[in-house]
Subunit: 362 residues, 2 copies
Amino acid sequence: MRDRPGLIHDTVAAIRPLDASAVAAAVARQDNLTKPRGSLGVLEDVSIQLAGLAGQCPPPLPEPAAVAVFAADHGVHAQGVTPWPQEVTAQMVANFLSGGAVINAIARQVGAEVVVVDVGVDAELDAVPGLLPRKIRRGTRDMTVEAAMTRAETVAAIEVGIDLARDLVVAGNRCLLSGDMGIANTTASAALIAVFTGASVAQVTGRGTGIDDAMLAHKVEVIEAALHRHRPTAADPVGALAAVGGLEHAALVGFLLGAAALRTPVILDGVIAAAAAVVATALAPESTAAMIAGHRSSEPGATHALAHLGLRPLVDLDLRLGEGSGAALSLGLVQSAARILREVATFDSAGVTDKITHSGGA
Amino acid sequence: MRDRPGLIHDTVAAIRPLDASAVAAAVARQDNLTKPRGSLGVLEDVSIQLAGLAGQCPPPLPEPAAVAVFAADHGVHAQGVTPWPQEVTAQMVANFLSGGAVINAIARQVGAEVVVVDVGVDAELDAVPGLLPRKIRRGTRDMTVEAAMTRAETVAAIEVGIDLARDLVVAGNRCLLSGDMGIANTTASAALIAVFTGASVAQVTGRGTGIDDAMLAHKVEVIEAALHRHRPTAADPVGALAAVGGLEHAALVGFLLGAAALRTPVILDGVIAAAAAVVATALAPESTAAMIAGHRSSEPGATHALAHLGLRPLVDLDLRLGEGSGAALSLGLVQSAARILREVATFDSAGVTDKITHSGGA
C-alpha cells in the first residue's frame, strides 16, 4: 500500500468550477446554430458543460474514451444481502478480460476501451493483459461487525482512482466512464447515499439485481445496523467511506476527483457511481462540473443521489446491470452534443433565415 | 408522377408479425447471458424485437444505417401557424446537403448515411449529389381551403417512400431512420394524430419549435377548421393523408411500410414520424413490428401517437428539432441491443455461476 500524504488534498485543491467565459460563448453559439433555439434540449446543456469544463468553445470531442471497471468484494456479503455467491465477482472479472460481458459488447459498439481494475477482489487473480492489479485488500470487512476499511486502506483506494484517471488522460483519453463490479455493492451504495443525501435507508435501498421482499427488508436492516454502529456523517467523507463503503466506491471517488482536477468529462454509470459521486462532492463540491449522469439506474438510491447532485440522466431504460453499461450507452449522446457545437453551421454561414424575433415554431 | 396500382397493396400484404420462434429463442438467450435476468431493461425488449423481425436469433447487427430526410412544404403555412418563413425548408435542404445541419453532425458521430429527399419543397432545387429529386408537387395546398393533396398525389408520395426503403435496403442498409424537414409540418402532424388516435386537437397540438400562446391557440383553430371541413377518418387512411397530411408524411408512411415489408428495423424520429406511423398502422397493423421509437419529442402529439402505437421511446431529452436527430441519437442504443444478444457470453460458456433459483441481486 502506498502512502502519499497530500495526493487527495492536492487533487481536491486543483478542482475548479466551469469556465464562465467558455460557458457564455457556448450558450451564445448554441443560439446561432441552424436550428430553433433550445430545440436540442438536454444536449445543449451537455455541450455547454463540456465547453465550460474544457475552457474553450467549441469544446474538443470527448474521444477517445475509456471505461474503468473497478472490481472488489464486500464483507457484508456474509449477511445474506444478495443471492449471488461472492465468487461471481472474480468470475465476471475474467469475463470482462475475455471480452464476453455486456460492457465489452457496448464498448465495442461505441468505440470505448475497457480497463479492469482489481482494487479488492477476494481472490488471487492471474496477471493478464487488461487487468490492472491494484488490490488494497481481499474484500472489505463486514460493516455490521467492524469498519469496512481502515482509513489508510480507504485513502489508498481513493489514490488508485486518482492515479488511474491521470494515467488514462495521459494516455490520450478525453472522456472517462465509470464502471464497477462487486457482488453486494448495492448494499454499500445505499449506505453511502443515505449518509450523504439524508434520505432514509428504506428510501434508497433497492432490489439490486432483483431480490425478493424478504431479502430487501433484511438488506435494509443490515444497512441500518451498520449505520447505527458507525454513525458515519457527511462531515467526514473518508471516515464514512471507511465505515460503510466499498473499495471500488473509494477508488471511484478518486477517479471522479481525478477527472475533475484534469478537467476531463466523466460519465457516471449507475447507483455505485452515484454513491461515489455524492462522496466526491462532499470532498470537492465543484467536482460535479466534470460529471455527466449516463443513465438512471432502476435502483432507487440512484435517483436520490442524482437529485442531490443536480444531475439529469441521459438514458432512462430500466437498466440495473452496472459494469459501466449505462455510462457506455450514453457516450454517443455526449459525443454528439460536443460534435453539434463544433460542426453545425450558423444561420449566417449557411444562409438560413433566422426567425430572430422570438423563440421558434415549425 | 408514376402510376403503379398495387404497390401499396402489395407492400401492405407482405407485412408479417414478428417471427414467434425467433422471439422465443431471443427471450431464452437473454436469460442465459452473463448478467442478472432482466437487468438490461428496455434494451432486452429491443433485442428480442430485432430477432423476431429478422427471423433469427441472434439478429444481425442493424448496420450500416441510413437516415432518409423527407422534405416538403405546406400550404397551411399561409394561415400563420409558425413564425418561420417557408423558404427555410429549401435553405435547410441546402444545409443538409453541405453537411452543416444537426442531423449531419449526429450522423457522422453514429456512422449513418444521410439521404435527402425532395418530395415536395416549394422551390426548384439544384441537382446536387445526395439529393433525391422526388417532388410530387411544390408543397401541399392549404388544408383549411381544400384538400392538401389529391388522392393520386398522396399515393405517389407513399410510393416514393416505399421505393426509397427498398433502394436503401438493396444498397446494403440494415437499419433505416426517419427524418423530415418542412416548415409548418407539426400542424399536419397534429391533424393526423388527432384523426388516428381520437385525441382532441388541443391535446395533440404543440408549440412546434416554440410558438407563443396566441399562435398556439390559432394553430389549434386552424387544425380544427381543417378537420371540420374534410371530416377525415381513420377508416380511410389515404383519404385522411390527402385531406390534412403532408407530402413528407405520405412518403414516411411508405417508408415505414416498405421497411416493415422488408423486415428491416426503422427508427422513428419525432412527431412527424409518429404521425406517419399511426397512418401506417391503420393501413397495416403489423407494421409496428419493424418500428422502434428513437425518442420522445417534446411535442405532445408524439406522446399520444407513441402510446397509440404501444412504443416506448429510447431517448427522452426534450428534443424538438426533427431532421431525424432523435432517431440518429438512438441508433447506438439499438445497435448495442443487437450486439449484446450476439456477443455476450452465456453462464456456461464463461464459467460464471448462475444464481438460477430466483431473480437476482447484487
